[in-house]
Symmetry: C2
Subunit: 213 residues, 2 copies
């Protein structure tokens, strides 16, 4: 198993958490997004979207972090990252997608770069009027989902799921951009519970081999 | 089963296709996004993100279109919307997420409105320098995924899957914004194959009870 990773990528961070929870240790290649290595022809052959993460196993190339985590969960069922019941699975997937479809894509590096290149927005305007705006709107929605029945010590019940693999990288990013988080006590409580576990803590950007200051 | 829908929503369009493929006809409520009905307190109790679609069944409230389609597929397995093998499922989910996580969220109504409100971008600038830019970048990535082994008459094999429920609404939107699509022959061929089927055609915005000119 070969894993294409970048320390700062939230999407790769999700997969790192899942790999740690499953006790899997693939060979890792690092794709430096700020050096634009994701646009190198050889990498685009693997991942035509020019994104990380990518997982290669048994001649198959897997892309998109949530699809990769579900694949890992199907191939390595213990510990499960999805609940045993259909409604629980739908809830976990919805929380994951509320982050992966509604917050993260709007605030990722290529969007922030484009806001600078196409519209001349300076870093402080991007942080204040774009990044923090969408974190506030998005995490409020996630907090609403977490306020419903089903949440336990983790996003769903008392063990980590796919939802927690998405929540933790999102909160990490929000803190990096100094987003105020006081209005999201359930999300922050789950985040702290997750980060107390080594599988989550070891997946954080600063502890990766390719980490930079 | 109660389905909260809006004719123009791509995310609701995905679920309408899945419902039609499964032969399911839930009771429908329409949430007018341009009239901001998704922010009404009663609707926010159901869907704290203030988004459509929402599906209510057996006292459970389901949100996020891909989670809803997977739930429908688990509860009503015929015809299947995911392949029987794990690598196939990972590929279908990746294509779906390449659209639902990388193209659609960046171009949806709330982002376009915010570009006008916060940065004063006029409609033509938004269409040209935002909408068409992200469609071009995103659909090129999807075309790359479709160029790999696995694609048949549909995105994966010769029957519709979760991937096709995402592809069709995305192409619809791209055409509505006059995005040039000549560079994506596989995506367009699959789109035409899908639209020749009544389950897809009947789900299109103009054929919904709440459709407007």
């Amino acid at each position: 198993m070969l894993f294409y990773d970048y320390f700062r990528s939230s999407a790769a961070f999700r997969v790192r958490i899942a790999l740690n929870l499953k006790g899997l240790t693939p060979e890792r290649h690092f794709v430096h997004l700020r050096h634009n290595e994701q646009r190198a022809p050889d990498y685009l052959k693997l991942n035509p979207q020019g994104l990380v993460p990518t997982l290669v196993e048994d001649g198959a190339t897997l892309t998109q972090s949530l699809a990769i985590v579900e694949y890992l969960d199907e191939m390595h069922p213990e510990p499960p990252l999805l609940p045993a019941d259909a409604k629980g699975r739908a809830r976990v997937r919805a929380i994951a997608q509320a982050i992966a479809c509604e917050i993260h894509p709007i605030n990722n590096l290529r969007i922030l770069n484009y806001l600078a290149d196409a519209f001349g927005l300076d870093p402080e305007t991007r942080a204040e009027k774009w990044y923090r705006h969408w974190v506030a709107e998005g995490v409020a929605g996630v907090e609403g989902l977490l306020a419903a029945a089903g949440t336990g010590r983790f996003c769903h019940g008392d063990a980590p799921t796919l939802a927690d693999t998405c929540l933790v990288p999102q909160i990490f990013n929000a803190q990096r951009f100094d987003c105020p988080m006081d209005a999201y006590p359930i999300a922050m409580r789950v985040f702290e519970t997750c980060m107390a576990r080594e599988e989550f803590a070891a997946a954080q950007p600063s502890r990766q081999p390719d980490a930079e200051a």
